[in-house]
Symmetry: D3
Subunit: 206 residues, 6 copies
């Protein structure tokens, strides 16, 4: 597995974005001895208490085996397209020297998501592998998955992580069925039982 | 519903392609009093007896309520990119004057599928609405759905049709789970319980 | 007609954008008993008196039969890519529950137009049908019309609306010839006498 | 003008394709002392007498000032994607050493057009400038014009050439209005009175 | 040469961007009697003294024969997507009436570069020819060169200009080898010894 | 390295295509204990003696450490888009069960190259990783590399292989300088000394 023993940095806009986009992949990476860091750019405090959101994501990450969890404090729904935000991400690149970054697509209907996608493109320009994950808000006609990670056997674990988000539980995409449907559909596209889909931003095989 | 009382022509390369790509949509169209014609360009005789394949698709279409079912006899796996094949399709356009054509995408990994997609682009140039449906063989990074039909409540009917294909039953994409997963996933992208996804080739609203 | 008896919300950056992009379609929608709301994000006061611009668009909309006309007051030429602007649009979605939104493309050379396009993508994420209309400023190599509305018989009405914009009358795209040329050209692409062209952002057929 | 004193080779599938796609540009090139060669790959004999079609195109080209007119004899509606067809085009490249080739787009709904587009891509690989012109059959959602030639003052001449095609006169796109509409629309996209639109295949400025 | 005797405006985000993106082309334009203006939107003061950067670019431009060199003072790494920035560019359009603008691509991993690309799209909407040049930071999977300028014989001159940037000399892309590699590779794509590659934003041939 | 200990099948249209497109990658794969098979679809006999071409490629592959070298006998410059050709490729998939296929892009100006690209898309639909390599004939405006293999330290070996093609030595792209330029340029795009660029057709990480 390409993530084995590598440094993997996952960057999401809000608590739950990383779990949704690449929870299975991170779990698998952890199993393969990768060092995984999860970074949330906001604390998701717009409609729910930020402490609740942070606690939920922390629990979720623990279930996936991720131990390094960071929360920045950019304003939820208003992440700026600023040098400060870009520089914040760049500091993670400098500190952790990630081999692989997993983050948002620039083609997402959520303004925070697409901004993180653009910021990451600037901040992680020297990282060898950058992949954009799929969220419930990516634009269906503009997300072109060309990289799939086989997560067969990890779907239940992914869902275990997702159900930590009790405060968001009424959201359809956090239901067990949705988790299974997505993983099965993406798997069926490439001939495995379950997969997570990514769009390559940049990929250097060394 | 836009298909209501309209003439809808569905064109597939092989028996089961139409059912897979737009079975739910056709069922719904029939309920809405559309005149639906299903046309298969081959009889699927490459690996199974052609009579079996034809009988299975005929049963499947009957379950969906489609009464006009046509089988051309182009060679399975070798549909030619010829004037004869194009002209064959054009005769259906002349005979039925369809308002809407549902057919294959030009971005499909099956050679028969993509050829039908190109032939249809020529043959149905004067049809107001042409939509490319999704098959298990479309290229995941080149099928960009921008038109969805809500098939909530029709998924079981679609599967009832698909299971008529007893000769193909070992194929994963004909399983009940696959049918549900696909419909649920495509539905989740647009906020309905179940959907079929299409890529618009041409669409004129009159 | 798909707009018949539906709630249609048209969103433009400046007075005259809606008329230019979808005036014929709105007129036709009104004839078909749609409830049409026209929303302008600015009052166009940069180079002309805002009251004049508002009055002209109000007259134009009346000619098209549109009765609900709203003007927000974001700064002309400087519509911000802010949460406030996005939220403003979202309030219209909540209030009117539109079935169809017609708005700007994200591929437009006017900064206000493309920002409205992006804001709309976020704000109207739950609207079943979102279409981007064509303005004189869309990028010719990046506007890919795949949805056309037949406006045969409505072109003169569209022009009647456009000529209300007396303060802008020296602009070429507001001339009678331009109106006819565009409608005829777009019509010729799909085999009708006159049409307006759109790029689908999202389309769910229910 | 970039065509001035250059060798310009225009390649069309059928008599009238070149006139429609770049008649104004050729006229202008001739005025600017270019050596222009018009090559038709078929004689258009499918539905009309080939001699009539050839005579009409010859007259049309003479009106535009083009003196070298060649007709190959590939089967109308069935131009093959063969080495022979490619080689035929390559011989023109060898004989005339064109600086600029104007030909069909690979994104055209007419099978002959798109095949000529692909053949030209192979045959003219060493020509510095290759441009795809617009025909009434190009796919509206896949023709992305990024190169425009100002034909202000040449539109009437273009139409004079088009009306030589008496045998095709019932075709809408050969009407005077269509000629003017297209030229005016394409002109309006780039701020001139009239233009022809092209998609660059390859362009080297020497 | 299309640049001969024309007004050419090159716009870069930072000192060295113009030299890198189109130094050879500008040198050739100057030889062909073009009036060339180089405009830098920032003074590059983020990590080096701005006066040093300005002096280096001034020297570089003089080597290329460019005499009109302008420096705006937008903040390095934080060029705003504002009306003021757009208007600043528009004033250059009004003052110089450029025939051709050479500037950044909107698909660049550097935030300043892509913003200048977007600003230019708005500000130079009435300029007949706008080309986006290639920088070391353009996105390799989203920069689609379709316009090449033959700079055979000008590569050493380009490098002479680049090596004026003593303060940046540790950057790989400013090395002699990089300059030659890029020019040779882009040349090889179109059959000349050396070339600079551009993506057309808009091109009107008059 | 992802190729380590894997089965890698490289498919080219003509002797020298594989060496040019992925010679460095294959050499590296061999070093990492991959089982590499090189398959040429033609023997390149159009303009040179086929035995010479085969011998040259065999030598070249031996230099790269590739031991399994296969030559099919489809007609040079006329590889058919037939079921037979597709089936031929599929037999290799069945026999070798490759983990990774490296082959031509469908966007290549050489008709044989693009046909192999399409045939491969059908034949290798069940292979987890399919990558399209870069040839001197890929379309510069349609090859979008998103996957790079670091071949630092392997460029001389690649050239050693290329210079076996004595019969083709007058071709520019077989010169030492071209080999270095390409590798350096592609390397510079992703921050390594030398690289080969690929476009992902499909990629499943297991």
């Amino acid at each position: 597995m390409v993530f084995a023993s590598k440094v993997v940095l996952a960057v999401g806009a809000h608590p739950d974005d990383i779990e949704l986009g690449c929870g299975g992949t991170l779990y698998k990476a952890v199993q393969a001895e990768a060092q995984v860091i999860a970074l949330y750019m906001t604390r998701g405090g717009k409609t729910t208490d930020a402490h609740v959101r942070m606690r939920e994501s922390t629990e979720a990450m623990h279930i996936l085996g991720v131990k390094e969890i960071c929360f920045e404090n950019f304003p939820d729904t208003e992440i700026p397209d600023s040098f400060a935000a870009m520089n914040c991400l760049e500091q993670y690149a400098i500190k952790y020297k990630p081999d692989i970054v997993l983050t948002h697509s620039i083609n997402d209907t959520h303004q925070d998501h697409r901004r993180v996608g653009w910021l990451a493109m600037s901040a992680f320009r020297n990282v060898p592998k950058v992949l954009a994950f799929e969220t419930p808000r990516v634009r269906s006609a503009a997300f072109l998955p060309n990289y799939f990670v086989d997560i067969t056997g990890c779907v239940d674990k992914k869902w275990e992580a997702l159900r930590c988000h009790v405060s968001q539980k009424e959201k359809r995409y956090l239901a067990y069925e949705s988790t299974v449907n997505l993983a099965s559909f993406r798997g069926s596209q490439v001939g495995v039982a379950a997969a997570e889909a990514f769009e390559i931003v940049k990929y250097v095989e060394t």
